[in-house]
């Protein structure tokens, strides 16, 4: 048996004899198990609830009686953001973004009813998920079990006897690292088993799951390397512990909170009131539908009349009010898109600034990676918002076209007692409207989102291993 393996075995035996250590390992295993089970059942409850609510909303939409198409534009459609299976592992921003959105004409609504506004203050303490356990708690356990691995031997002078006994410095350090690495593997195992179970469900792609597994393996390996490195460098066990605790507090607790704070301050985001007022202002500039003499709409009218070769809107073969609705929606939606794009761009710049903090804290890198691969980061939410807006526009325009084609201009402008009946179109049209079907991202796209985080973590690990290698060469030389 090589010296490395002997040393690793000894270290593990020592840990097994430490009652506190064993209890801690058992606790974290139980904690992970609880996290996997609760997060999974929570995700399934949410996913089912949203599916049920979406089905109810769609059924209600299609069960509408004969109506004027413009009524249906205002009746609108509720869209629910489906929750991917991997959200059971890392729910990311799901609780912070609304899960439902009301799609209607002339307006772009916010996604509402996010858990963070419906929950107690505890939501802000974090969520108990496998990702949380691996990101925040597991490194602490490794610190706790490993800070003394080498420095203990240095302090007691047993290192000298090890070296005299024929073990090379590298073998000692590798042995200690191996032992701690095995602990890390043990600690990561239940979460990874949970991930495998979650991944076993239908619709989960292998690539992002592999990215998540690789990410956490790198992350835990990095902590193993860091703990052993500090243990090699420290003169006293206590110093090693304090340094490692400080590193944990800074990288896991402090930087992940401070970085978004600074990003938010550096890159401002327009609020809804300012956005809405801005849209209204631009709209008045582009074309004021309330002003009969507005040049944009006058030009549209002239264009439309010319296209059909008639002199009055009453003579058009289609309903002019429907055409006007199509044109109006086109103009407002273009503005919405412009403002939304500006908002998204600002948020993406903010997120990029936070991601850069991954250079300071591997915890930031793993968070970003994990959320990106699980499809629960901002990009994942944006995917929903983009598709919801595309759906809203398509639905509204289809209804406006219906008004143009199926309701006559004379009926549409009539106000006699029977006019209301004549303005309505048959209910079967509602079942012919498109249904909202969220197209989930494909595996390669999700995995691509994890690449920056993976490279950061790989860089961190390489640096830590290199530092460990240098430190090892000087071990015991004092």
């Amino acid at each position: 048996m090589s010296a490395t393996r002997l040393i690793a075995r000894d270290e593990l035996r020592l840990m097994a004899r430490n009652r506190v250590a064993v209890v801690a390992v058992l606790l974290i295993l139980v904690l992970t198990l609880v996290a996997v089970l609760t997060a999974w059942s929570h995700q399934r409850d949410l996913a089912e609830l949203r599916q049920r609510q979406q089905a109810a909303a769609t059924a209600a939409f299609e069960a509408q009686p004969d109506r004027h198409p413009h009524r249906v534009v205002h009746y609108g459609q509720f869209l629910f953001r489906p929750l991917g299976a991997l959200a059971a592992f890392d729910p990311g921003v799901d609780a912070f973004t609304g899960s439902s959105m009301f799609a209607e004409g002339h307006r772009q609504n916010t996604a509402n009813f996010g858990d963070v506004r419906q929950g107690s203050l505890l939501t802000r303490f974090g969520q108990l998920t496998p990702a949380f356990v691996l990101q925040s708690v597991a490194p602490l356990l490794l610190i706790f079990l490993g800070f003394g691995a080498v420095v203990r031997e240095t302090e007691r002078g047993t290192l000298r006897s090890l070296l005299v006994g024929g073990a090379a410095r590298g073998e000692v350090v590798r042995g200690k690292a191996l032992a701690l690495g095995l602990v890390a593997a043990l600690v990561g195992l239940p979460a990874m088993a949970g991930l495998a179970l979650i991944a076993g469900q239908a619709g989960v792609q292998a690539l992002p799951v592999a990215a998540i597994a690789l990410g956490y393996a790198l992350y835990l390996a990095l902590w193993v390397a860091l703990v052993v490195l500090v243990s090699v460098l420290a003169r006293r066990s206590r110093d090693a512990l304090l340094v490692l605790l400080l590193a944990w507090a800074v990288t896991v607790v402090l930087v992940p909170r401070a970085a978004p704070e600074m990003a938010g301050r550096a890159i401002p985001l327009a609020n809804r009131l300012e956005t809405d007022v801005g849209v209204a202002r631009d709209l008045r500039r582009v074309g004021d539908s309330h002003n009969p003499a507005d040049p944009t709409f006058a030009a549209f009218k002239a264009r439309t009349l010319a296209r059909y070769g008639v002199a009055r809107v009453e003579d058009l073969p289609v309903n002019y009010k429907g055409l006007l609705a199509v044109e109006g929606e086109r103009i407002t939606s273009r503005l919405f898109d412009r403002y939304a794009a500006a908002g998204f761009a600002a948020q993406e710049r903010q997120n990029a600034a936070v991601a850069a903090a991954g250079l300071l804290s591997p915890a930031v890198a793993i968070r970003q990676l994990s959320m990106a691969a699980a499809g629960t980061n901002f990009a994942g939410h944006r995917r929903f918002l983009d598709q919801a807006e595309a759906y809203r526009f398509a639905l509204v325009q289809k209804l406006n076209r219906l008004e143009a084609d199926a309701v006559s201009y004379a009926d549409d402008t009539a106000e006699d007692p029977g006019a209301d009946r004549r303005k309505r179109v048959d209910a079967h049209h509602w079942t012919e409207m498109p249904r909202f079907a969220f197209a989930g991202p494909d595996g390669a796209e999700l995995a691509r989102g994890a690449v920056p985080g993976l490279s950061l973590l790989a860089g961190w690990l390489a640096a830590a291993v290199a530092a460990l290698w240098f430190a090892t060469r000087r071990l015991g030389v004092r």
Partner: protein
Amino acid sequence: MRVWMLELRLLLRARPTVVAVLLLTLLSAAAVTGGMAEVSHQRAAIARIASAQAEDVGAIAKWVNEKKDPGSAAYYTFHATWDAPSPLAFAALGMRDVAPFIQRVRALGLEAQIYDGDNFNPELALPGRFDWSFVLVFLMPLFVIVLFHDLSSGEREAGRARTLAAVPGGIAPVLRRRTALRLGAILLAAVLPFAVGAALSGAQPLPVSAAIGLAAAYALFWVGAAALVSRLRWSSTANAATLAAAWLVLVLVLVLVVPTFANVAIARAVPVAQGAEIALAQREQVNRAWDIPREETMRRFYAGHPRLADSAPLPTGFHYKWYFAFHQVGDEGVAGRVAAYRAGLERRGAAADALGLVLPSVGVQAALTRLARTDLEAQLAFQDRVRAYHRRLRDFYYGYLFYDRPFGTADFARAPRFGGIADD
């Protein structure tokens, strides 16, 4: 007194201690500065409302004034409401980053408007704010570890414990003095920046002293926990390191794990799925009005608003009073669900508060957000004020709509303004 000075000098000579205290001061100051910047940002946003609204409403008034139709005015005009940060909001930003503090409403159905959010970046909100309450609840316990983990075991290890025990009075007074000094140093580091911030923000002395008292009690709790752990002496192999490590788990469990776990438990125990259901039900109620006789809607409306019942009968064509009536009837139709949803949210908040009674970390966070008026309760109170204001808005427009009074430019200025006692 001389012994105290001596102990103080000893404390100042211990470099790790001084560094730790300075670091805590720095973190606390940074959190207070950040919190104040955020609050002033929010105040500035609220201050900008007036000009934005003047522009927006002015443009509507311009075209409405031509026909003087009160319905168009009521339909198109958004009115701003806002929830100004309290003077202590900088210390615990609570839900102010995820719940809107500016909201615009129209006299239309409120249930379709009141749950709207503001723009915020969810990825920035996810990790939680870096405010003073965070420094206090999450970071201060770690500093207590650093300063207290070797209070008695350090002496034991250095071999001075026996000598100290032999002096008159024994080791206890020495440890008491050291405990007091270190606790004082930590508290001063954590609280001083807060006190400065509170003074600059013009906070009332009572909530400020309550917050300081909370901080002291919380610090005492952790010092007490440290004393308890060191009492155990943790067999002969225990040294400062394992001691610190062992009770770090305590910090972690109490500050990170139990609250997250409780969150899941509360969410399960008190389900609130009604939010989206309110929106769906309200839409059904509102849109149904187009498919039933208009008189039926008016009957239901007048039953709730007998004062307006002397309004003229509906004309054959469209009339906005019917439109607003069915919006109101739609809101009233979901009142039961709204109350149930609200009760669910309050039960969740109460459950978290109850947990705060046994879990100091949660308790302190809850108490601070309460003092700062940034908690769920404050958010619900803001919603109540928006509701009250919305009632006034409706009453205002109904006065024109139901009696066909023309609505001109001057009338836009007569619309009720948010704020003041009327909305509380």
